[in-house]
Structure formats: structure tokens, C-alpha cells
Amino acid sequence: MSVLASAGRSPARRLAFSAFRHAVLLAASVLTLGPFVLMVSISLKSPGEIFAPEFSLWPQTWYAWENYSLAFTKQPLLRFILNGFFITLCIFTAQALFALPCAYALAKLRWRGRNTVFVFVLLGLLVPPQVPAIPLYILLWQVGLLDTYAAIILPSTISVFGIFLMRQFFMTVPDSLIHAARLDGVGEFGIVWRIMLPTAMPALVAFGVLSFIWNWNEFFWPLLVVQSEHLATPPLGVVFFANAEAGTNYGPLMAAATAVTAPLVIAFLLAQRWFIEGVTMTAVK
């Protein structure tokens, strides 16, 4: 893109364009990263220093141990984080179990009504999660599942976005690969798990990262269906923490927020290469 845009210009203009581009990117990065840096910085400072008139990113007195130990002891923060891992893992596993066969059927099998079903999938993408919230709440109440892990997990087990993403990826897998598998004696479900799944790993990882981030950060739904503290997800936990501390003890609060955000950042960094491969959509070279 930039090569195209700058082709055929003088070196000075190209340099100016490049400087402008970097300035825009830099501003965007500062805006995005600023709150995170501030959060980590505050989580390392003593209460006096947080409210001190002169600001510095690096703490003058190292207060990390106090803040973090308070964050982990005042509230069962570790429990919240483990809850977060358990819930996101369950949700992602279920989403993958549904999305892969669905996407395979939508992308590679020929059947009546396939296009109609795919239109419904696309429509499903347009429905915001708040719309079905009340019917789902009533349903969970009727089956007596409110205030359980299941109440958080069940409504997210089928991801229309996941079906859509995997379907788009499967479209790029050559038919001959599936034909070869059928001739080799692999059944249709075998094709999904043995042939399509490994081929679609980059897309699945990309979807996994997105699903993990969404469900880890999900605040609205767990807040509705969970009252017990021991079931709380990490964002709920941070809110509990803020409530318990009356929202003034910023050091430990930011320490809790940092601890809750860290898994997301680590997950993204680990999956970064696959994530980019997955969203750029190339299955078999």
C-alpha cells in the first residue's frame, strides 16, 4: 500500500510522507497504550505517590509487593482469574465443536437450503448480545441454572462469528483435499477433525484469541446471572474489589486490573503470528 502510494515521488516527498505516517501511527499507539502504561505504573506506586502533584511513570518508592499482595488477599483474585480461564476454555471448546462441523457443511457440502442457512448465520452476526438477554435470563431461571457456571457458559456456546470465520477459511481449502480424504476412507466427521481442523489451525487460533478476549472481558452477562462471589469472572472481581475498597485504594485496584489483563496480553503475544495468518486467510499454499 505504502509502496504504491509513494511510488514515483521524489525522495524528499517520500520521506515527508513516511514521517507523517509514523506520526499518525505513533499518536494512535500512545492513545491505545497510554491507559495500560498508566495502569501498570499506578499499580507499582504507593498511595501517597499516586496523588502526588508531580507525575512520573517510574515509581520513586517501589510499592509493587504491597499493592499486588493486597489485591490478591483482599478478594479471592486468583479464584476470579481461574474462573475466567475455566469459563473461557469451556466456551471456546464448545464454540469450536459447533463451529467446525457447521462451517464444513456450509463451505464444502452440497445440500438444499445451504445458502438460506448461511444468510441466517450472517443475520445472527447482526443481533447484539443484549437483545436475547432477557429471554435467556428467564430460560435459565426456569431451568434453575441461575448463579452457576453453566449460566455464564451456555448462552455463548454457539458463536455465529466463529461459524462465519471458519466457513470463510474452509472456502479456501481446495476440494481435492476433501476428495482425497474421502477416497482414503476418511468419513465426513473424520474430514472435519483430521483434515480441516489442522489445515484451519491459524484461523482457529485467531478465533480462539478473539473468543478468549471477548469472554474474558465480558461484564454484562456474568453481572446479570451470577451473584455468588466464588463464581465471579475477572472483570466482576475487579468491580467487587472496587466496591469493597470504596473505589479509593487505587494502587491495589490497578494491581488487580493488571493481573486480570495480563493473561490477555500474554495470550495475544503467544498467538500473534498465527493470529495474523488466520485473519489474512490462506489455507493451503
Binding site: S176, H179, A180, G185, T199
Partner: protein, 390 residues
Amino acid sequence: MASVEISKVAKTFGETAVLRSVSLSIEKGEFLTLVGPSGCGKTTLLRIIAGLETQDSGAVKIAGIPVDHLPPKRRDVAMVFQNYALYPYMTVAENMALPLVMRRFSALQRLPLLGRLLPGTTPIRAGIDAEVGQVARSLAIDHLLSRRPAQLSGGQRQRVALGRAMVRNPQIFLMDEPLSNLDAKLRVQTRTEIAELHRRLGATFVYVTHDQVEAMTMSSRVAVMLEGDLHQVAPPQEIYDAPADLAVAGFIGTPKINLLPAQVRGDGAFAVLDRVWPLPQVEALAGGYTLGVRPEAWTPLRAGGRVALCAMGGIVRHIELLGSETLVHFAVEGLQQPLVARVDPMVGATLRLADAVTFGVSPERVHVFDAQGRRVPRRDALEFREAAVG
């Protein structure tokens, strides 16, 4: 080794008829090539034999048994694909072993980790590994077994695809343009290898290609397919020497066969443009015909030299030097396209652009097609030859 019997198979995709009532019987151990331009339905026919596609009507029998209701894996056929269709994340060994793994292991034994612990898994696994190794050695790819397809060259991938087809000893090999992704040099080499493989295995090969050279060089019989119809099924030389109709004559042979419009006169001779060609080998009723002359059938005639029965004069428009031969394009009055003659380079060197030339052709090398484009059969090939000699 098994025969394949295809009777009246038809297939339409939406509005387009891809196959119109195709019947074909392929003998045991035969190397049959389906040749035709892209989109003629040859790959669809191959897929119907494999069971990957269902025909709208008609029936397929393998070894005399109807297979229309059988899924691909129960038809005992193996296929080699144009893009090889190797599983990208599996090693060469795993790719080649998969057909055997799927057939010999139970679903439980195929489970990762757990499968290894079940009784009976180890000896089966050892058997599979031994067979994969043996096939790999026969294709000289045993040093590649631990690589992944992405790390292989086109030729190597092609061998792995062949290996995966060979490893379970199928009755029938189906090949869908397996050479078209290789470079020219490798293609010539692999052509020979596949022909040798066919002789060695003795299995039935059904080979699909758009390349007439592949069709001519490898097959025991060639089936020419054009627009969903089989036009001719015959040994390669017969396809070339006696094309069943104009379409086959035009498709097979490079450069293309020369076509000349002709009328039959009262005495049975043919009026071709301003010349008269006696063609005693055919008994033609009055009417319009098309005559076909292969480029190599022309011989240049010199002024004052011997008189040919059938001759055509024109002006040299273009000379193509190919080293081993020279193609002379000569324009004939009354024809839009110049005719092409394939001559010896020594002869070609004596010709210049805009020279007036006369080429002759012996009558028995002239193909006669009727107004519907069908070949007019010879009266009696043997009798004709005797008459010509006498």
C-alpha cells in the same frame, strides 16, 4: 486389476449439460486416457467413477459390479489429483499411511495417544510402516518420508501423491491431470515413469488430460471427449490416422490438420477449389465434403517433377523453423486460412517468403468427412492398398 463399465452416464450442473449419455468400457489392466479441452466433462466423468460425484442418470460398474450406491472408499479406486491434494500438515510418511490407517485400524485404535496403548495396534502399525517404506523406495522418495509437503518440490509432491495412491494396491488408478503442474522437462520424464508404473503394477489406469501428447504417448487407448460427448475411443495411432469426425481430427495433431472444402463430381472425383482430386478409397455420393490433410502428408512438388494425383498450389506466407522440421504456411486462393505443411529442414531452406509452391498429397492420406463432419469410411483398406501398389 478391474474393468470399468460406464453406461449412458449423464450429468448436468444447473443449466449446463456436462456429460450427455456417455458410455465407455475400460478393460482390465488398460491405460485409458480421457482427452479433451478444459470444460469438456472429462474430470466430471473421472469423479463419477471415483464416487465423488453422483451422475443424474446411467450406471457405473467396476469389475462387473454396480457401484453407484457405494461411497468412494468402498470402490477400491485411488486417485491422483492435479494439485496433488497432499495433507499439508502431515509428513510424507503420514500422508502415504493414511489410507492404510483408515482401513486397518478401528476407530478406537486411531485415537491419538490412547490408540497406541490398545492391544494389536503395534503390529498393524509396523506392517503399515513397512509397506509405506517399500512403496517409497520404489518411487525413490524414501529419504523424504519425514518431510512435509511444503518442503518438497513439485516433482517430489507428485511422487508422494502417486505413492499414496499405490500404497493400498487399488484395482483402479484414476489420474486427474497429474502432470500439468510440472515444468516441461519434468513432465516428459514423469510421463515415461507413469507408463512404466502402469506396466509394473498391471492395474487399470484411467488418465485425464487436456494434453494430446500425454494421451498419445502413454495410453493403450484414447477416448476423445468434446463438450460432454465421447467422440472416439481407439488406440492412439488410430485416433491420429483415422479420426472419427472433424472435431477429433481438429483436436488431435499439432499443427492442426488442414481442412479443405470439396464437392463430389459426377465421375466420383472431388473438386477441391480449382483442382480435382481423385480419391478412389472412398465411395462418395454427390454433395459437400470436407477433406483433411495432416501437415506432414504434404510433399513439395517441383516444376517439371513428378505429377501428384492430388496437389494444391499457393504462396508461402510464413516459415517456422523448429530445427528437426520446418513448417511452411502457404496461402491458397479461395481459403481464408493458410495451409500448413511440415517439411524437412533441407527442403524448407530452399523456400523463401512469397515463393509460389505446390504441395502434393497421396490420396490415401486424405481424410474425407461428410457434411455432418463424420468420417467417410474407406471402401476397403486392404483392397485399396493393393490397387495403389499395382
